[in-house]
Amino acid sequence: MPKVIDARGLSCPQPVVLARKAMAEADELTVIVDNPTARDNVSRMAQKEGFKVEVEERGEDIYLHLRREEKAETLPLRSAPSGPTVVFIPAYGVGRGPEELQEILIRGFLHTLNEVEPLPDTLIFINTGVKLTVEGSPVLEDLKALEEKGVGILICGTCLNYFGLTDKVAVGSVSNMYSIAEKLLGAGKIISL
């Protein structure tokens, strides 16, 4: 008889916390929740931990049957590209759209790089992206933490010079197009923001 966790009536993140605790001690368990957000959050966490999830709706309640999968049954690792991962940051923001939103997104992204795996090998800041690396930038703390973990930070010297920011650089190293081109060409994977 699998263990049953009753997480009905609890607000997030309690169902996930309870489920995770129980998963550490059991290979098979049932978590009962009463709303779609808890269902999705618990399911996602369980799948990430290598559990198979079956969802069963009983009236208002949602029963999540979790079973740890044998290693052999888990999907084979996707073939990772060989060579370093480079993140190319050519703007003070992510994507196109309202500047305010672009800035929220780049701040969020650089913060999150410190919290997820795997770390990139190198970040390249170019064009208005260089403004993220100078005094007063809202992401300095995050970039310094990444640098301490061994992530290389290359900043376009031409760009710094263009904006008159050369002496304001507060993290990473000022670089030139030779090094930047070599990093890009030698990369296994380039993530361009």
């Binding site: 607000s11 997030c12 993140p13 996930v16 916390v17 957000t37 999705d40 959050n41 996602r44 966490m45 305010e100 939103l101 929220i104 701040r107 969020g108 913060h111 999150t112 703390e141």
Partner: protein, 72 residues
């Protein structure tokens, strides 16, 4: 250092809260809402847990609507 996050109903409230908090001298940071809290509340304001009461009072006095507060 113990931290908490304030989550909001919208990104614009998060931005407003950041502005108000910084003007109030609080050490805060806008971060993506931590995964364990919710998958869709978007952007959250991280703060030092010891500042909790003072910060929440300030946000309330400035009319910032918040969805919830979590310790992280």
């Amino acid at each position: 250092m113990e931290y908490g996050v304030v989550v909001f109903y919208s990104t614009s409230w998060a931005l407003k809260a950041e502005k108000v908090a910084k003007e109030g001298g609080f050490e805060v940071k806008l971060i993506p809402t931590p995964r364990q809290i919710s998958s869709d509340c978007g952007t959250a304001l991280r703060f030092r847990w010891e500042d909790r009461e003072a910060l929440l009072d300030l946000l309330e006095s400035k009319g910032v609507r918040i969805e919830g507060v979590h310790k992280i």
